[in-house]
């Protein structure tokens, strides 16, 4: 019988990352034995939610070494656990820290790694999507265990199973040579309003907004609608208009709001994979042939800099008369 592991990531504040619960929910449909590995400050506390989502055992260490030296200590510890317990499959999230650990682990286990996974069909079969999610590719995974899958966030809906986990403390000596990188100052960019992943409405701006200052009209629109987060395309993040934490897409955040409004965004495949699961999609773009219109439920052809301020007025007047 297959044994599936989830490498559970912790947020900087020590709480368990939502992706771990998504992966555990999927793992329940793949195997009878489901276990999680969680390393870093907050790990033991995370065993609660991990157990509630299906982990029967949680290998945990609260050691700060896992937070202060990037991926090598975690890879070392995870590799030791793998050798001892021999899982068949390990699920990771496609996030920065988990990608680091998965990539390094693969070089140690010399087993297969599939990335950008959107569905797992079995312990040796997984799917990914290409060309902006228009094609689904199925892959068979070969070679020695453990197979390593790096899964896109929000690929699965987390559902509690009502279980609880046995906590197995991890005790591993991390050699000094694996502690060379030292994490120093940590900077957090404070974003106002709801988080991108959680907001009911997400409005995202792209290069079509012409200049960084014009993002202000999106913030006004977000305020007018309420429970709305503002995101961006990579083009404007790279241009330095807004911080990376606002980026939506393959290499940014994946969102699934009730309504997604793309404003001055062309709809490149790498952007689309991060938002195409929204319940409803609205697009404003002055180019009638912009690819984003192909998936919009409502598309408006025109100048965003004119339409958005009008929309703010419309919503305000609807609300006050409402």
């Amino acid at each position: 019988m297959a044994k599936v592991w989830v490498y559970a990531e912790l947020s900087p504040n020590g709480s368990v990352h939502a992706t771990a619960l998504e992966l555990l929910t999927k793992a329940r449909s793949l195997a009878d034995t489901i276990e999680a590995v969680v390393l870093g400050p907050g790990a033991t506390g995370a065993a609660g939610p991990l157990g509630e989502h299906g982990a029967q055992r949680v290998f945990a260490s609260d050691d700060e070494v896992f937070a202060n030296h990037l991926a090598q200590p975690a890879t070392h510890a995870l590799h030791q656990l793998v050798q001892e317990h021999q899982p068949n499959l390990i699920l990771f999230a496609y996030s920065y820290n988990s990608r680091d650990v998965a990539g390094r682990l693969q070089a140690k286990t010399r087993s297969t790694l599939m990335s950008n996974v959107t569905d797992v069909l079995g312990p040796e079969e997984a799917q990914t999507q290409i060309f902006g999610g228009t094609k689904i590719v199925t892959c068979s995974l070969q070679g020695p265990d453990p197979k390593l899958l790096v899964v896109r966030p929000k690929a699965f809906e987390p559902e509690p199973s009502g279980g609880s986990a046995e906590v197995v403390p991890v005790e591993v000596d991390i050699p000094d040579e694996l502690k060379k990188p030292k994490v120093g100052e940590r900077h957090e960019e404070q974003a106002a309003g709801p988080k991108l992943e959680e907001a009911r409405v997400v409005i995202a701006g792209g290069r079509g907004l012409q200049k960084s200052g014009n993002f202000e009209i999106l913030r006004e629109l977000a305020d007018a609608i309420g429970n709305t987060a503002v995101g961006a395309s990579r083009a404007v993040v790279d241009a330095g208009w807004v911080p990376y934490s606002m980026q939506i897409g393959q290499t940014g955040t994946t969102v699934k709001p009730d309504v997604y409004i793309a404003i001055g965004i062309s709809g490149a495949t790498q952007h689309i994979v991060g938002m195409k699961e929204a319940k409803r999609i609205v697009a404003i773009n002055k180019d009638p042939d912009a690819p984003i219109f192909k998936l919009a439920d409502l598309g408006v052809v025109g100048d965003a800099l004119k339409i958005v301020p009008q929309l703010v007025e419309e919503i305000r007047s609807k609300k006050s008369s409402g």
């Binding site: 900087p12 920065y96 682990l105 120093g184 009911r200 934490s245 495949t269 999609i281 052809v301 009008q310």
Partner: protein
């Protein structure tokens, strides 16, 4: 200081890649060049070598046309190139690519390896980390800023919430995001000089690897169309757009 920069060849950087009958991305007989994501790493490598002294070697694995990616890196200022080409490497996965690149880089010698964060076509986003593990060096990933001083490298590492400052002794591997540098353009002189610069073209056996060690462990078994999200209503009249969106939001019960 020896700086190595990974320079992946991708077919048709501006458009959608094409798939062959074997489900692999077509890389032969197509126009292509240096992955745009690697241009930032090349720029960072050149700046570091200009500041700290030393030279930059561009390393790539790919079919014959991949020489275009190496030449592009040379035209920008890299001193020499290494290209690993071998028929057995068609369709290789992350582990095989990392194994090959590790051998080639060890052969070239390095203090610092720079790479992109994810390739435009493969996008596994895990190759550099596997490579770092094989080379036995730290991986400082997702750098939005890189600086090298006195045998150590410092980066600003992008995080979900902001960035962390991370420092490490060399040798090390660093992956560079698009925001980190402003890639230069090749000059005519650079393009001419690139043709004279040395490029080591290596096969698997040159690297002491057997075909067995280059066997991919993944196989595409099928490709199907994803369910379509049919296009919806289009409002062509700019003046009516705002009112229509407001009504749409009302119907969606988010206002």
């Amino acid at each position: 200081m020896n700086v190595v920069v990974l320079s992946k060849f991708i077919p048709n950087p501006a458009g959608t890649p094409e798939l062959g009958d074997d489900f692999l991305v077509k890389r032969e007989g197509v126009e292509g060049g240096l992955d745009p994501g690697d241009e930032y790493a090349v720029e960072a490598a050149l700046q570091i070598a200009e500041k700290a002294g030393g030279e930059v070697t561009a390393v790539s694995m790919g079919p014959e046309p991949a020489m275009a990616a190496v030449r592009k890196a040379l035209s920008l200022g890299c001193a020499k190139g290494v290209l690993v080409t071998d028929d057995t490497l068609r369709g290789s996965d992350v582990l095989v690519t990392a194994t090959v690149l590790a051998k080639a880089i060890e052969r070239a010698g390095f203090d610092l390896v720079l790479a992109g964060v994810e390739s435009t076509d493969g996008s596994t986003g895990t190759l550099p980390m596997a490579l770092a593990e094989l080379l036995g060096v730290p991986s400082l990933t997702f750098a939005r800023k890189v600086d090298v001083t006195d045998g150590s490298v410092t980066i600003e590492r992008q995080t979900e919430a902001g960035y962390d400052v991370v420092e490490s002794a060399l040798p090390a591997l660093v992956t560079v995001t698009a925001g980190a540098t402003e890639p230069r353009y090749p000059t005519l002189k650079g393009i001419m000089q690139a043709k004279q610069k040395p490029v080591d073209q290596l096969s698997l056996s040159d690297l002491g690897l057997s075909a067995d060690e280059a066997k991919p462990t993944q196989q595409v078994t099928g490709i199907e169309d994803a369910p379509e999200r049919g296009a919806g209503e289009i409002v062509e009249n700019e003046g009516q757009g705002a009112a229509r969106i407001a009504q749409f939001l009302l119907e969606a019960k988010v206002v």
